[in-house]
Symmetry: C3
Amino acid sequence: MKFGVCYYPEHWPEARWPEDARLMREAGLTYVRIAEFAWHLMEPEEGRFTWGWLDRAIETLAAEGLRVILGTPTAAPPVWLAHAHPEILPVDAEGRVRHYGTRRHYCPNSPIYREHTARIVRALAERYGEHPAIVGWQIDNEFGCHDTARCYCRACAQAFRGWLERRYGSLDALNAAWGNIFWGQIYTAWEQIGPPLLTVAEPNPSHALDYWRFSSDQYVAYQQLQLDLLRAVVPPSHFITHNFMGSFTELDYHRLAEPLDFASWDSYPTGYAERSADAFYAPGEPRPAHAYDTGDPYVTGFCHDLVRGMKQAPFWVMEQQTGTINWGRYNPAPRPGTPRLWAWHAALSDADTLIYFRWRAGRYGAEQHHAGLLQHDGSPDVGYGELLALQEELPQLAALSEAPLAVEVALLLDYEDLWALELQPQREGFTALRHLFVFYRALQQLGIPVDIVSPAADLSRYRLVVAPTLFMGGEERTSQLGAYAAQGGTVIMGIRSGFKTPSNLVAGTLPGSLAALIGAEVIAWHALPPGEGYRLITAIPELKGPATVWAEALAPQLGRATVLATYPDGPLAGKAASVSHVVGRGRVLYLGWYPTQAQAQSLLTYLADKIPLRRLAESLPEGLIAGRRGDRTVLINFTEGTLEAQIESQVIAVPARDLVTLIQD
Amino acid sequence: MKFGVCYYPEHWPEARWPEDARLMREAGLTYVRIAEFAWHLMEPEEGRFTWGWLDRAIETLAAEGLRVILGTPTAAPPVWLAHAHPEILPVDAEGRVRHYGTRRHYCPNSPIYREHTARIVRALAERYGEHPAIVGWQIDNEFGCHDTARCYCRACAQAFRGWLERRYGSLDALNAAWGNIFWGQIYTAWEQIGPPLLTVAEPNPSHALDYWRFSSDQYVAYQQLQLDLLRAVVPPSHFITHNFMGSFTELDYHRLAEPLDFASWDSYPTGYAERSADAFYAPGEPRPAHAYDTGDPYVTGFCHDLVRGMKQAPFWVMEQQTGTINWGRYNPAPRPGTPRLWAWHAALSDADTLIYFRWRAGRYGAEQHHAGLLQHDGSPDVGYGELLALQEELPQLAALSEAPLAVEVALLLDYEDLWALELQPQREGFTALRHLFVFYRALQQLGIPVDIVSPAADLSRYRLVVAPTLFMGGEERTSQLGAYAAQGGTVIMGIRSGFKTPSNLVAGTLPGSLAALIGAEVIAWHALPPGEGYRLITAIPELKGPATVWAEALAPQLGRATVLATYPDGPLAGKAASVSHVVGRGRVLYLGWYPTQAQAQSLLTYLADKIPLRRLAESLPEGLIAGRRGDRTVLINFTEGTLEAQIESQVIAVPARDLVTLIQD
Amino acid sequence: MKFGVCYYPEHWPEARWPEDARLMREAGLTYVRIAEFAWHLMEPEEGRFTWGWLDRAIETLAAEGLRVILGTPTAAPPVWLAHAHPEILPVDAEGRVRHYGTRRHYCPNSPIYREHTARIVRALAERYGEHPAIVGWQIDNEFGCHDTARCYCRACAQAFRGWLERRYGSLDALNAAWGNIFWGQIYTAWEQIGPPLLTVAEPNPSHALDYWRFSSDQYVAYQQLQLDLLRAVVPPSHFITHNFMGSFTELDYHRLAEPLDFASWDSYPTGYAERSADAFYAPGEPRPAHAYDTGDPYVTGFCHDLVRGMKQAPFWVMEQQTGTINWGRYNPAPRPGTPRLWAWHAALSDADTLIYFRWRAGRYGAEQHHAGLLQHDGSPDVGYGELLALQEELPQLAALSEAPLAVEVALLLDYEDLWALELQPQREGFTALRHLFVFYRALQQLGIPVDIVSPAADLSRYRLVVAPTLFMGGEERTSQLGAYAAQGGTVIMGIRSGFKTPSNLVAGTLPGSLAALIGAEVIAWHALPPGEGYRLITAIPELKGPATVWAEALAPQLGRATVLATYPDGPLAGKAASVSHVVGRGRVLYLGWYPTQAQAQSLLTYLADKIPLRRLAESLPEGLIAGRRGDRTVLINFTEGTLEAQIESQVIAVPARDLVTLIQD
C-alpha cells in the first residue's frame, strides 16, 4: 500500500515548493496529484500556453523522488472561456443557466466545450506525456458533483434526440417503448422531444429514465474523448483513472469505470456520515452514534466495496480525508487515531493507494475551512502527525495488502434500477440503495466480505449473489442469472424485482421473465406505512418478526418452488412470502418482503451454513469491522469502548479506536 | 345504484377488447367511461380524424350491453398541438412555462386552445352524439389538477384586464375596491394591471382574490364553451358532467357545477387520507388510526356531502378507488372488504352511480403502480373479486338508494371565503376548511346528516344552517340569512365572519352588516398560539373547556342578544364570547371562538334538542359512520375492532370492517 | 420622553381628519409621521404635483398643535413610474424580476430611479421645508425590507464593477484579494465580473462578501442622495433620520446611521419574538415562555441597545407596536398593560420618543389585520386606552429620561463579520449574532447596561469591551483594540476571531495579527455537534461545564499570556482553552469555546469584580429587566408571576406585568 497527497502548488509561493516536497518525502509519500483546476494557469487566454510554472512544480517534486499524477483541468473552465462562450454553461432542472465563478460550469454535450477540452487535454498530454516523473492521469474531477450530472440546455436537447434515434430507430418504436399512448402524448416528429423539463405533472418515467441514461452516457462519452486523446499521446505505462464520489448514484459508475485502468474514489468518512448517510438509512432508522467523528464504517466500507467491485479489482482512494472538512453539517474534527483506522480499513478493502486531500489547508474560496496535512501557515497539522505515526505500521499494511482477499458474495447494484425506483418509489422512504444497504450491513455483521458489482459483471467467481431489487427484468438478466444458478450458484432476489421492462414499463405478469428463476409469480404487493406489519411464519427458525415496509404475495408454480415463509393472517393470509427454487445445480431464493437488518442477517446465516460460506463471526458488535486477507484477520474498532468478537472460538477484545491483527497459524 | 368502470381500450390490443367487455358485463357493470385522454388517437394531426378504433371500441362494449360515457379529451392536448402552438402552455406562479409530455398543459384562456377545443369537441359530438350506446359526457378531466387552477401567461393577463373592466367599470372603482391607496399603488391605465406575479411583498389581497376569482371564472367559461358545443349536438337525454376532486378548493366548484346535469367526483379514500387530510386536520391534531388502509371516512363523507350539496341532488362517483393508488405517501392497499364499505357509504350519501377507476392496471406512464379491477396481465385483481361479492348485496343497496335521504342541516362553504382566508390566515394553522370540518365531524358523531352547500343555495329546506366563517359579509348575504332565520331557521355563525367586504377590504365596524343578524358587534379578536387558551363560562352546561386558537369579544346590542358564554378572566375578562339572537321566528347563534370538536358537538346537541333535529345517536364512536334513508339505518364500521352504538335505546354492535342495516318496523 | 403616531390621512375621508387630530392631542401626542407611501398622491403623473391634500392634512394636524415628520415616499414608487420604466425593478437572487403592486419595487442603483427620486424629494422639501409644523424627515422606509437589501439586476452588475475597480484598482489586485486562483477562476476583464448569481457551487466567499458590502454601500449612497437634497433645502433645525428594523443584518446599519441626525427603529416586540428570535436563539435553545404576548424583552432590549449604540446617543422608536400585528406566525394580541412596560423599557434604554404605529387600523392591502390605536371604525382600541393611562406616568417617565444613563460595557457588532460568517458558518447553527446574544443576555441577567457598537466606535468611554467574534482581523483592528487595552481597558475576545483577512481569506497563522493582542495562537479549532462537549478545567471557580459547539486549542506565547482554562482530556487534551494577556495597563481575555449563557455570566461576574464594573444584581430572574438612570432604578417584570430581585442587599418583589421604580436616597 502506497500513499500520496493532493497538492496545489499554484496556491503558494514558489519559494515554498522545495520545502513542501521535502516534507512529503519525509512523510513517506509516493504520489502527488496536481493541476486538476489549473487550466487558467496553463492557458490564460485561448491558445496561449504557459507551462513554466508547472514544469518547475513537477521538477521540484521529482527532485524529491515523488511521482506525479496529472489531472486534466476540465472541471474548471477558465472565466475567459465561459464568458466568451456562455452556451457551454449548464442549465438546471428549472431551465436556469448556471454561472461560472466556481467549478463544473460546463455542459459535457457542448460541441464548443468539447473542442476546448480537446485542445487543453492534448496540449497537456503532449507537454508531459513523456515526462519521467509522471505516472498517471486523472480525467476531470468528480463528474456530477454540485448537481451537474444532468443538464437541460439546448445542446442536450439536441443530443438527446440523436441518442433516442440511435436507441429506438423510429418514433413508433419510441412511442411504444415509452408507453406514450398514456395521456395521449404520442410524438410525431423528433424535434418535439426534449428533456423532461417543468412538465405539468411528474414526467413520464420512461422519458425521464432515458434522459438520465442519456445524461450518464454523455459523461461516459466526454470521458472517452479525453481517454482517447490521452491514450494517443501518453505511454502505455501511464494509468488513467477518474475520482468517483463513492455513494453518488446519478451517473452510471459501472459504465464510467469500464474504460479506466482502475477506479478510484474520494473518501471523506465524516462528510459521508453527515451528508450521504441519509441515502443509506431510512428516515428514523438508528445510525451509529460513533459516526460523527469517525465516519460511519458501514457507509465507508460500502463505498470501498462498490469501487472495488466496479472493476472487480484493487482500487485507489484518490482523495482521503485527513482532518476537518467544510461541506458537512457540523464538520467535526476526526477523533485522533481515526485516520489510522481509515488506512487499515482501506487496506483491508483492497485499496492499493491512499492519496490524502490535501497537502496544506487552503486560504481561498469555498474550502478555507478544509484541513490539510499541514495547517494554513504551513506548519504540520494533526493529519501530518497521523501520517508519520502510520509509517511504523507500513510493513504490516504492506503484508496485508499483498495477501489475497477472498470474496465469495456479490451484491448487485444497477444504477438504472436505482434511477427507475427513484422516479417511482411508490412507498415514501423506499430506495433501492437502502435495500442494498440492509443486506450489506448484515453481511458485515457476519464478517462476510462482499463485492458490490453490476449485474452484468462476472458472477461465476461468487458462491452467493444477493440482488435485493432487480427492478427491471428482461430476458438477458434472466438468462444471465439462470446460467449462474445452473452452475451451482445461489441467488437471493428481493421485492420489486422484475416489475419493469428495460424501458420502464410494467412487465405484465409479475415478475416478468424472472418468474422462471423464482419458480413463482408475484400476485400482490402491498406497501406498508411505518408502524404496520404483516405476521410471518417461516421455515427458517431464526427469521423472526413481521414483514414491514413492503410485502408481496407469491404463487409458487406447482411442484417447482418450496415455500419458505407464509403470511398466516392479514390481507395476504395463506399466501407465500418467500420461496426457494432449485435451478440446475443451484438455487434462487425470493424474499417477498423488505427485511430488517436482523432478518437479512438470519437469512444469510442460514444460507452461509447451507452453501457454505466462510464467515468470521456469528455477529460482530456494531462499530467493529472485521476482515481477512490471506492468513491475516484484522478487527477494527471504530467506537469509543472496547468491543469483543468471537473469531473461530476465540474471543478477541479490541480496544477503543484501535485494531487487532490476528495471523493464522 | 349502478356501477361502471373507466376503461382505456387504446392501451390494450384490440383482440382483448371483447373479453374485457364480457368480464365487465359479468361483474354487473352498467357504464364504461372512455376516451378522455385520447385526443391524439382521434386526431393524430390537425384536422385529420381517425375514428375507427373508437367506433370499434364502442361497438365492442355495446355488444355486451354496456352504456358508454365519453370524455372530451381536452385535458391532454396532443404533442403536435402543443409543439406547434407553445403559447397554449400554462405559466406557473414564478413565471415559468410548463411543458407538455404529461397532461393539463394548456391555459383555458388561450384563444388558440379554445379554437382547437371547439374543433375536437364538435367533431366528437357529431360523430357519437347519436350513437345508441352513448348515454352521457364528461367534460375534460379534473379541472385544476397538478396545480393548474391558476395560470400566469400573457393571455391570462390580457383576459384578466377585460374581466376587471367588466367587473369594476372604471379604474377609479377598481382602485377603491382594491384599496390601492395602500402603499400608493394606484393604477392609472388598464395595461398596468397583471397577475399578482412575483411581487416584492405579499400581493394586495384584493388583487390576489380577484385573480383567483378570475381564474376560476375562466374554467367556468371554458367548461361552458364545451357544454354549449355538446348541447348543440347531442340529444337532450345525454347527461353532461365533470369529475370534481372532492376537497380541491382552488376553483369555485359551485359555479362549475351549476350548468352540469349532475355533479360527480373522483373518490380515492386512502389517497385523500394521505394527501388531503392535511387540509382538514390542524397540524398536530389526532387523525383516525384506521385511515391508512380504509381512508378517513370523515374526509370521504365530507366530499360526498359536498358534491351532493353542489346541486342539492344525487351525484356520481366518477372514479372510485378499487385498490392501491400511486400518488399517496405510502400507498397502502385497501384492507379487504373496504371497497364494500365505500360502496355502502356512497349509497348512504345518495351517490347514484359508482364508476371504478380503472378497469385494468396500466403499464404506461405515471400510473403504473395504480391498481385496477384487473391486474396488469389481465387477470382479476382483488378489486374484481370485491365487485363480484358486492353483487349479492345489490338488492339491499338498491333498496337503500331508493329510500329518501332527509337532511335537516346545511353547512355553508363558500370558495371565495376559503380563498380570502388562505390569503390572510392571520393565525398559522387556521383555515376555513378546518373550521368547517370541526363542525362536520361533530355532526357525524351525532348521526346528523348534512348538506354542504353554497351560502347562495336554497336554505329553506333546512332547519339549521351552520356557517363557521362567512369571512366576507355584505348586504346580500345578510338579508339572505336574515330571511332564512325570519322564517324560523336557526343559524350558527362563527368567528371571523363579516370581517371583509366582497372586495376583500375590512368591513369597518365588525362584523359589518352581519351585526344586524348577530345582534352584537365584535369588539376584539385575539389569535392564540398553540397551548394558550382563555377560560369560558357558558350557559350550555355541556360546553366545556377554554377558548383556543381564536377568541373574539362581543358587545351585544342592548336588549337584543342573549349572552351564552363569557370570558371570566384574562385579557377579554367580562366580555361576551357567544350570543344568541332572535331573528323573526328563528334565531342566530354566534360562537366567538374556534371550537374543539367536543365543543361543537355540545353546541349541536344543545341545538338539536331545542330546534329540534333528528339525530341517530348521542355520540357515535370514532370510525363508525351511521346514516338513515327512509326506514333503513346503516351503520358502517371502518375500524378493525367491533364498535357499539346506541340507536334509539337499542345498543348495536357492528363487527370490524362490516356494516349493519336496521330496518324500522 | 415624547410620543407620536404614524398616520395615513390619505386612507380616510378628509372630513374625519379634524377629529383624528383632536383625539391625538387629547392622548398627549406630540408628533405625527405622515406621507411615506404617498408618492402617487403627490405626483399622480410624471411632473404633475398635487399638494392640496397634503397641505390640508398638515394644516389640520398643526391646528391641534401637532408637529409633523414627513417621510420621503421613495419606498413606494408609483405604478405609473414602475410601468413606464421596468428597468427600475429589482431582480432576485434567482435572476427573476420582482414586480410592482406592493412596495420597495426598486433598485437603488437604477440611474433612472435616482433621477425620479431626486425630483420627488426635492419637490417635497421645497414645498414643505419652511412649513412651521414640520420638524423632521424620515428618508424612505425600512431599507432592505422584503428581502430587498441585495438586487441582482444589470444596473447592479454594472455598478458593482465600478465599485470593485475603485476598491482594488486592478484585476490583479482583485484576483489576489479574492483568491481567484482557487478553482482557477481568474478574471481577465472587468466585464467578466457580475453578481454571485446561480453559480454552480456555493460562490467564492470573497466575491459574495464584496457583493454584500457593495449592496449595503449602494443603500448608503442612495440615502445620501436624499440627505443631500434635503439638507440643501430644509432648515438646519429639521432632523433627518431613517427607521431601521432592529435586528435586521443585511445592511450595514452603522454606515447608514452615520450621516443621520439620530437613529430610529421600528419596534414590534411580539413580531420580533415570533419572527426574529430564530436569529438570536440557537435551534432547540429554550426561549422565554412569556414572550408570546409581551415580546422577548432580551430581543427588544438588544435592539434598543444596538440602535442607541449606532450613534452612541439617544434614539427614537419610529414605529412602536400598539396591538396585534399581521406578519407573525400566530399574531397574538399584546397582554393588557404590556404597552406600558414597553414604553418604560424604551425610556430606560434612552429612547427619546415613541411613535406609535399606527393611528387607526387600516382597511386596505397587506396590513388589514394590523391594529392601530383606533379600531378600523375609528373607535378607540385597547392601544388608545393604554396610551391614555400612560399619561399619568408621564412625569415619572420624564424624570427617568432626564437622568443620565451610564454605560461601562460595549458589545462589538460588525455587520461584515456577520456576513462573512453567514457565508461560511462551518458549523450548522453557529452565527455571530447568536454568539453576541449569549453575552448580551448574560449582561442583562447581571443588570449591566451595554452599548452595542461598531468596533470602529469610540471605545474609550467603556471599561469593558466584549467582542465575541471579530472574524476578520487585520492590522487596523488590532492596533485599535490594542490602544484601547493599553489605556487600561479590558477586552473579551472569543472564538473564530481573526480567522480572516478583510477580503475574507484565511489569515495564515491564526488568529492573524490579533495574536499580538491575545498573546497566544489558535492551533486547532473543533466544531462539536449537538450533544458533544469537551471537559474543561478553569481558573475561575464559577465557570463550569464543558466546552460545547466550538472549541479551540490555544498556544500561549511564552511568558506572555496566563492560561485561564485547559482541556484535561479528549482530542485537545492538555491544550489551553482560554488565556488572559496583559496589554499595557489593560488586558485581553480570549475565550476559546462557545460559551453557554451561564458560562458567559460567570466570566462576566469574575471580570465585573476585577475591573470593577457596576452591576445591579447577582443574577436577575428571567423576564425581569432592570436598569438604572441617575438615581433611579427601574425593574420591569414581563412575566405573569411575581419576580424577586436582590438590588444592593434589598429584596424587591415586582408584581406580574408591572414595574417598580427605586429612587436612591
